[in-house]
Amino acid sequence: MNERQNNAQPEAGGLTTYSHLIAQLPVTLRPSLNQQLSQWDTLFPFEQNRLAEFLRGIESFQPSTLDALIQPLRALEVKMGVAHWNFSTDGDTVENASLLARSEYYPEWRRTVQKIFEAVNAASRDSAPVQAKPVRLVLLILPDSLPVNPQTAWQQWGPRGHEVKLAGDSRRLIELLVQGSSGQPDIATLLARNGSADSSDLWLIDAEAKLGSLLSNVSPVAASHLSYAALVPFRDKLLAGLNTIPRSIEGADQTIAALRREDWARWWPPELTGQPKLRRFVLDLFLTGNGALVFSNAFVEWGASEALRRARPRVVVARFGMRSKPKPFTSIAIFENQHTISSLPDVDDPEGSAIDAAILARYVWLAASRYPEQEQSICVCISEYRNSAYVIPLAEKSPGWSPEQALTPEEVYTWIAGQIAT
């Protein structure tokens, strides 16, 4: 399945105009904006629109107003000595982050940048038409191999949701979602009926290969599908490259830049054929750390969080999985690939994996909660092991069933489908 093209492309010369606008901004604002611009073709539609809106917001200011807005940051940059730094304006680098973070003015810098973004975004919003916000679904699956602690499973999920007991086989829910049933369309069809046209609207992120096996039974679905298991050859190759980073910040940036330029074509799984945006997303994901290269559950959490941040999809399905116990020696060199370090057989760590997956599933919901449309988001986290789900309905809405009532997977899916169709 190929990615569909976003039809919100800038007009001819638009990117050059954007580039000129960015050049007028204070130095420390430029790397991130320039990086996005240079990767325009592999940005998701939401990112393209957000960048375009931000720059239109900049453009909408009178020169004197814009100058007054950015002057405090320019003054701060002088105090910070940015002009004397080896600071890249082309894109975000490890060295940029390090230089900013160790400046004594860093907290003030963050506040000042925040103010500029708020003012520009407000200006941008004022000039943009108001659009209805569709409902977002975050579906999180803790598979039956993970013995989630019944005492603590849902303890920290907050008051907006509640636990629902599932009657029957809870594994059925994901089948209904991906494949549909005679009485109910699958989620991709539902999204298409409700105006979603881009594959970045539906994400399926899997620690193992379960979701892929469900997808293979149906006709091509407009979805962004990532399986950690399928990415293992690419991950191993990339990890080997990252482990050549010399012990310096400059060296890290050079190695990362080289890895970005490398042709990885033969290492990508077949599922990512013809999907440059998704490939770029995976490369970014692995190069931004957060455990995505080391543990499959961290990959799922960080992947889902980044998908939410970058694509603002209608539906995110994140399925967690099993981690192996650390092997001898790898527990002292945990950053390494323990499959190459040790030829001892893998031994599952179900208890540890359950602890990891439970907190990381909650982190995905917390990531979804950071955005303004969080009130229009619903979340279902299923523990297949406990035949239990934690359901978070729309803000200040009740799902319409009593907490004591056990629901079948079909009933839960009917509720989800009804919410998505809202």
Binding site: S98, A101, R102, S103, E104, Y106, P107, R110, Q156, N243, R247, S248, I249, G289, N290, G291, A292, V294, F295, N297, A298, E301, W302, S305, R323, K325, P326, K327, P328, F329, T330, S331, I332, A333, I334, F335, E336, N337, T340, I341, S342, S343, L344, D349, E351, G352, S353, I355, D356, I359, L360, R362, Y363, L366, A367, S369, R370
Partner: protein, 387 residues
């Protein structure tokens, strides 16, 4: 830790210290009238949130610190890291009493004198009396001495990274295509030998490098045996356990006046495993208890030693854009506000001292404890201690 594994790691620890001593023609501590009677051990424990340690939800992770050591301590529940919350900068700030803003990867030494330098220069104590022993691969040997002209490496600490030695050996063996397997023990052995033989090897981190030294035949033979044994074991060995064993060997052999140990097993949090992060906290909890027991046992330490235990910082808040417990970048109490436990000689009374303190107050406290006078530091000595 099971006995066989502990014995193996212990053997490796002894060998490391032996190697250092042999290269300097020392077997035990130098005898110097200048060596102070009081001793200080600082234990810095990576990033641990208060929520996972000293809080209702965290007590279960620190049974030794909470039940066994807290009732003997002066405890400071509000200690702030107001500097750069990276490992190298935080440890440098604790050691110098000034917030350091250095390259995070340890490319440059601290910009103001460290406690090691004050102690060695002002008190004229011997080279083997100040040690920095660390699990953390984010640090470098430059942390042992500052770039200040009148101080510097001539007055610096001995800096050792025991875990890094093992990591380098294992990783290098893997890079050569040699998988570590119980039946394939010969693959790692030459790598560790090579590490020990290489002069000025940063990973090993002897900051005061004497002449290039190679291992004597006896040591080499013992190392070979120890590494063979270490590779043969199938039980996981953590880097912090090895770091403690090296520290204990240094204590037995040299009884340094100032010993700084940093643990880092809990830093597995960066890779997103909360269960392994908590396991790292529990390991450190146990190791601090073992260290304290060792202090009560060794004649060089019993009755004259102050032990300070502190996290370097917390970790980021759940739900933050910095991915919660994975990182420690947030300008927030979850990351900046931490605690410190003080045990032993300097403790006036068992008490909880709620007076807020900064981590930069630790340096003037230790300086005063050693009677080092005339240093100008922004922090104030901590209350509640005999200084």
């Amino acid at each position: 830790m099971d006995n066989s594994r502990r014995n193996l790691l212990k053997a490796a620890a002894i060998l490391l210290v032996d190697h250092w001593a042999t290269s300097r023609r020392l077997a035990f501590a130098s005898v110097s009238a200048e060596n102070p009677r009081r001793k200080v051990i600082v234990v810095a424990c990576g990033g641990m949130r208060r929520a996972d340690t000293f809080s209702e939800s965290g007590f279960q992770n620190i049974p030794h610190l909470y039940r066994e050591l807290l009732p003997q301590s002066a405890f400071y529940p509000f200690v702030r890291n107001a500097g750069v919350t990276s490992h190298y900068n935080t440890i440098s700030s604790v050691l110098t009493g000034n917030w350091q803003r250095l390259d995070d990867w340890g490319k440059t030494p601290p910009a103001s004198p460290t406690l090691f330098e004050y102690l060695r220069k002002r008190m004229r104590i011997a080279q083997d009396q100040t040690w920095f022993i660390s699990s953390n691969k984010a640090l470098t040997s430059r942390i042992g001495a500052s770039s200040v002209r009148d101080f510097g490496p001539a007055y610096g600490a001995n800096v050792v990274f025991p875990k890094q030695l093992l990591i380098n050996a294992v990783v290098h063996a893997a890079a050569q295509g040699n998988a570590v397997h119980s039946t394939d023990r010969a693959t790692v052995q030459p790598e560790i030998e090579a590490m020990l033989n290489s002069d000025n090897y940063d990973g090993l981190g002897w900051s005061i490098s004497g002449d290039s030294s190679s291992l004597d035949v006896v040591t080499l033979g013992t190392i070979q045996q120890a590494i063979e044994d270490l590779v043969r074991t199938n039980a996981p060995a953590t880097g912090d356990e090895f770091t403690l064993l090296v520290s204990e060997e240094v204590m037995r052999r040299f009884a340094p006046s100032l010993l700084v140990i940093t643990f880092s097993d809990m830093e597995v949090a960066h890779f997103g495993s909360y269960s392994l992060h908590l396991a790292g906290i529990r390991t450190v909890d146990r190791l601090v208890s073992e260290l304290w027991n060792q202090v009560q046992t060794l004649p060089g330490y019993k009755g004259n030693t102050t032990v300070m235990v502190l996290p370097e910082f917390g970790r980021d808040l759940d739900g933050s854009a910095t991915n919660g417990f994975f990182n420690h970048r947030l300008d927030n109490d979850s990351t900046r506000l931490t605690w410190m436990m003080c045990l032993g000689d300097a403790v006036r009374n068992v008490q909880v001292i709620e007076h807020p303190a900064d981590q930069t107050d630790i340096c003037p406290t230790i300086a005063q404890l050693f009677g080092i006078k005339g240093i100008d530091l922004p922090g104030k000595p901590l209350p509640g201690l005999w200084l």
